[in-house]
């Protein structure tokens, strides 16, 4: 049976634009302007979901982002599907589909509902207490727990939408476009502050636009009428940018805020394509004006969670703003006057209000008198003790409340109804305020936490600052605006306000029932099914910290972060433990205020934009020649060049042989290059490298090892002296940026007296490394007039030359052990240089090789790779590189650490070579090394750091770090693998051409 509960047309609902949508497979109709929640309510659908733990039927509770119950899956089965969306925030469009979550097979009949009847067995901490033993069973428990837990389903295919980021800098950011936000933004903009006004809803005005209490007047108009005119005027104000459907998710220090702007979620499927769906706004504001309003609190009583039980303010909004009656027999339950406003709103629209239950003894305000006049029955000093109706509220029972509020007396009265509006007072939305680091203080009179100690340039205005009545709001807003914007007058000076005074208050965090607490279900956190009983149990079990109680009972840990119930939880804890709420404090409010999609967070940084990558000038050639690439730092480096379907192993074997037998060429452009100039450049190098530099002649190259101050190897590379005060340093590919940073650090902070200037020139040069016995002939073909004799251009020296008109710097240095040249040209000539080398090398079958072959060739020579054979715990001594550590230099970075007792231990892990007894077995890099096989526990001596099959030696070779390895030459060790033990022998960490004869071949 579907009833139509539309009451009277509202200006926010376009009744000429009928929209059909599906909920749980059934088609319904609503109008343009409806949210999913208002459209469902208009169709008399209250039951929309099941609670998390007990699977209790739940309905729509609120009209905004604080909704705990009505969370739905949008567009199930589609790749735009989104779980955990609040039905109160979804604007309907033609073709929208939504479904309930956390129920099976359907929301009407949910097997999990059995948990409700088993609820005595699910106290707070049930999972912690039950699934602890035996510990080994956890994996089995986990499978079932994970299966039954979880709200909604994530999409299984990739997201078709585009997301974006935008940086915004403004003078004033106003968060929330209710009456306070609008007035604040207007006055800021008018005073030439560049102002941004954001609101999470699609319409401006907040709750004031449906404020209908006839006894409240602004300039003799109702507040809603007056504010609508103000909103009209905003259009003509310069300096003001307004963003609706924009929710501030996070407020960080120094007025840095993140907001999510929703652009297409309210559009039909066909209009979503190729548009930005959501945009993350990164806002840096000079001043922030928080006008986030207040959230109405429910009341905590037995069975307060049935579908049909809603916030009083939500019922008012549905009737005034959406033109929807939430029920045909309405009752309100309240501790303040706001429920009377809601009751009058319904009454004026011809909707039946049965009664108002008020826990106060009386109230004298005009609105209360009006309610009495129209004949609505009021039960003073009464409380609801129970409700009935499984899938929809059908009655309430009330009893007289004792004067101390802890018990009920007299006879029980039952009243039938289908909708109950609860009004428990207002909680300022201080979430963003506290995220910014600012501190709250409890206001005993208003029973709320209020902004107290600001840490950044910010103000909280309107109800989020504790001003609930229009006269207070205008007065305080006016003063705060003048103070914070430093202005003398505002629009607000001339506003005249009349208000209906509320003079009676009564606050009871947990309302009593005729039944003992153990037999009742007063829900505090609706989404996670935490009741007052659970909170009291936690206290009995010894939990005291509010943060611990929260985690133990899961109060406030749902997707709504307990926006409705947190204050009650605090109140109940304070009352039970006998402490003041102000002393108890609050739990930490963490971002995001409402959930963000992953898409919004990553923005455009997906696919190939996920991470920055760098390509060398020769990259196109590598791609054309079918190279496979590997990532080295951010660089895409040619890894190997397979021909005719070769595997990596086959390609590397071929490339390695070619480089030693004839000629090979490597793209070495990625090596870090730092240009060092200044009169103290030599002294600087002396201090940063382990070896001596003062005597290096101009035009000569030297290998250097750089340590950290702790004595561990940090980086290495060849540095060339280009002139008296001019060097060029090369670093490892991955270490370039860090080395430059470290050198700058020492120069600026420890040795500012040195006259040295550092410039990164990595990207300015392209480098081709030409190697092999025919490399000299090839270079000769390219640069015929350069004298390449060993006398003129020996190993470890440098020449400048021209290839045609291209200037180049050539270093005769070698990382392979072969006769080789590193040719550097201006980056833009890199590809040209490479092609020239390939052309000239054709007759020698020059073979391009990638990083894998480079690694193999250097391993044959026992040259280390920092970061592969070292891991930040290796000293040069550990690497058996004592030869590079100057004994004469008084100091260099890390020198003192080489003489620490720990770094001088004999049994440190040291670099050695390993040869497998079976030359065909290649060890796995990272494999562990032991000396005993039948020992338990087995002592781990070290691990393999580099391992290859050498085509030139026709056997397997490996480098490893082994404890005390230096003194183990020839010793037999073992590398135990999953299904075999590999016998290995310790060798010197150099396997090929130990005497370096090939360098001059």
């Amino acid at each position: 049976m579907t009833k139509n509960l539309r009451v009277k047309s509202s200006e926010y609902i376009d009744e000429t634009n009928r929209i059909s949508f599906k909920f749980n497979g059934k088609t319904y109709h609503g109008f343009k302007g409806d949210t999913l929640a208002s459209a469902l309510l208009a169709n008399d659908v209250h039951l929309v979901g099941r609670s998390f733990k007990y699977h209790r039927p739940r309905g729509i509770m609120t009209s905004g982002s604080e909704e705990p119950n009505a969370i739905v899956q949008i567009n199930p089965g589609n790749n735009r599907t989104e779980p955990n969306v609040r039905a109160t925030e979804v604007e309907i469009y033609e073709g929208l589909e939504a479904s309930s979550q956390n129920c099976w097979p359907s929301v009407e009949f949910d097997i999990g509902g059995i948990n409700n009847f088993l609820s005595p067995f699910f106290p707070a901490g049930f999972y912690y207490k039950t699934f602890m033993w035996p510990a080994s069973f956890w994996e089995k428990y986990e499978f079932f727990i994970r299966h039954s837990a979880g709200l909604g389903k994530s999409p299984t295919s990739s997201d078709p939408d585009i997301y974006d980021h935008r940086n915004i800098h403004c003078d004033v950011l106003v968060v929330g476009a209710g009456i306070s936000g609008i007035l604040a933004a207007k006055n800021a903009a008018k005073n030439n502050f560049k102002t941004l006004l954001v609101d999470e809803k699609n319409e401006l005005g907040g709750s004031t636009v449906f404020e209908n209490n006839e006894f409240n007047k602004i300039n003799n108009k109702t507040p809603s009428e007056w504010l609508k005119k103000e909103i009209e005027e905003l259009k003509n104000i310069k300096n003001l940018e307004i963003k609706t459907r924009t929710s501030v998710a996070a407020y960080h220090q120094y007025n840095y805020l993140l907001a999510r702007e929703n652009l297409t979620d309210h559009l039909e499927e066909k209009d979503k394509t190729n548009k930005i769906r959501q945009r993350l706004l990164k806002i840096r504001a000079k001043k922030v004006i928080l006008a986030t309003g207040a959230l109405e609190r429910p009341l905590i009583f037995n069975n307060n969670d049935r579908p049909g039980i809603m916030l009083s303010s939500a019922i008012k909004k549905y009737s005034e703003f959406y033109g929807v009656a939430c029920g045909s027999k309405n009752i309100f339950f309240t501790n303040n006057d706001s429920a009377y406003e809601s009751a009058m709103s319904l009454y004026n629209k011809g909707i039946n209000v049965e009664a108002i239950i008020d826990i106060r003894e009386q109230s004298e305000s005009k609105i209360v008198k009006k309610v009495k006049e129209v004949g609505i029955k009021i039960y003073w000093s009464h409380s609801i003790v129970d409700t009935t109706g499984y899938k929809r509220l059908n009655s309430i029972s009330i009893m007289k409340l004792s004067s101390d509020g802890t018990s009920v007396t007299g006879s029980k009265i039952s009243i039938s109804c289908d909708c109950l509006g609860v009004a428990g007072g207002w909680t300022p939305a201080v979430h963003l305020y506290t995220q910014s680091g600012s501190k709250l203080k409890f206001d005993e009179e208003k029973k709320v936490f209020l902004p107290n100690q600001n840490t950044s340039e910010q103000i909280s205005v309107g109800s989020c600052g504790g001003d609930f009545k229009i006269d207070e709001i205008i007065k305080n807003l006016n003063q705060k605006l003048k103070d914070t914007l430093n202005i003398n007058e505002t629009d607000l000076d001339s506003i005249k306000v009349e208000i209906d005074h509320e003079n009676s208050k009564r606050n009871i965090w947990l309302l009593p029932s005729d039944k003992p607490l153990g037999k009742t279900k007063p829900f505090v956190d609706y989404q996670n099914d935490a009741t007052a009983k659970d909170i009291k149990l936690a206290l009995r079990e010894g939990f005291r910290s509010i943060e611990h109680v929260k985690r133990y009972t899961t109060t406030g840990m749902g997707t709504d972060q307990g926006k409705l119930g947190n204050m009650h939880a605090l109140g109940i804890i304070a009352d039970t433990a006998g402490v003041k709420m102000g002393e108890l404090g609050t739990t930490t409010f963490r971002p995001p205020y409402t959930p963000l999609t992953f898409g919004t967070i990553v923005g455009r940084n997906v696919g190939k934009f996920f991470d920055i990558f760098r390509r060398t000038p020769m990259n196109d050639w590598h791609v054309e020649n079918k190279a496979e690439f590997e990532n080295v730092g951010q660089w895409k480096r040619a890894w190997y060049y397979p021909i005719n379907g070769e595997t990596m192993h086959q390609a590397v074997q071929r490339e390695s042989k070619a480089a030693r037998e004839s000629a090979g060429i490597l793209d070495a452009s990625t090596l870090g290059k730092i240009d060092i100039q200044g009169s103290d450049a030599s002294e600087f190098l002396n201090r940063v490298y382990t070896n001596a530099w003062s005597k290096l002649a101009i035009g000569k190259c030297r290998y250097g090892l750089m340590l950290n101050e702790d004595g561990m190897v940090y980086d290495d590379g060849v540095t060339t002296r280009l002139g008296e005060n001019h060097y060029i340093m090369t670093t490892t590919t991955g270490g370039a940026a860090n080395v430059l940073g470290k050198l700058e650090d020492y120069l600026q902070t420890e040795w500012p007296e040195l006259d040295v200037y550092l410039t990164s020139v990595t990207d300015h040069f392209a480098t081709a490394s030409l190697c092999g016995p025919n490399s000299k002939k090839i270079l000769k073909k390219i640069i015929p007039d350069l004298d390449l004799s060993d006398e003129n251009f020996p190993h470890m020296s440098f020449k400048e030359a021209n290839i045609g008109s291209i200037q180049c710097r050539i270093m005769r240095i070698s990382f392979t052990g072969e006769h080789s040249y590193e040719i550097n040209v201006q980056a833009s000539y890199g590809k040209d240089l490479w092609k020239k080398c390939m052309e000239a090398g054709q007759e020698f079958k020059i073979t391009p090789y990638g990083t894998e072959t480079m690694h193999l060739l250097r391993a044959e020579k026992g040259f280390i790779i920092v970061g592969q054979d070292t891991d930040g715990t290796m000293t040069p001594i550990d690497l058996q590189m004592d030869w590079i550590v100057s004994k004469k230099k008084y100091d260099f970075i890390g020198k003192r650490s080489l003489y620490r007792s720990d770094t001088m231990r004999e049994d440190r892990k040291q670099l050695v070579g390993l040869l497998t007894d079976d030359p065909n077995i290649v060890l796995e890099e990272g494999a562990q090394i032991v000396s005993e096989l039948n020992q338990s526990p087995v002592e781990m001596l070290g691990h393999v750091t580099s391992s290859y099959f050498s085509p030139n030696l026709k056997k397997s070779i490996a480098l490893a770090v082994v404890r005390g390895g230096k003194d183990m030459m020839g010793k037999k060790l073992f590398v135990p693998m999953e299904n075999k033990n590999i016998n290995v022998t310790v060798a010197k960490p150099v396997f090929y051409d130990e005497k370096n004869e090939r360098l001059n071949a």
Binding site: Y254, Y256, G437, E744, D745, P752, K895, R900
Partner: protein
Amino acid sequence: MFLINCPYCGERDQQEFKAGGEAHIERPKQPTELSDDEWAEYLFMRKNIKGVQFERWNHAHGCRKWFNMVRDTSNDEIKAIYKMGEKPPSQ
């Protein structure tokens, strides 16, 4: 996300900067004359206090200059920024 007033460039977003640990720890001029303990004091020991702390920062993605900052770690208030070599402001 802090807003840091680089003494050379002006106010910039924190993402342009790198934190460099405790400030005013001078590298010993004669390391070889220190005992293991004295050297370890320089090498490893750093304060991590709740409250006002002196720190080094580097405008890594900007002018690359190092400078000092006085920051209250309990609320991230930046109390002062001054150049390398300048005297720290008195507390």
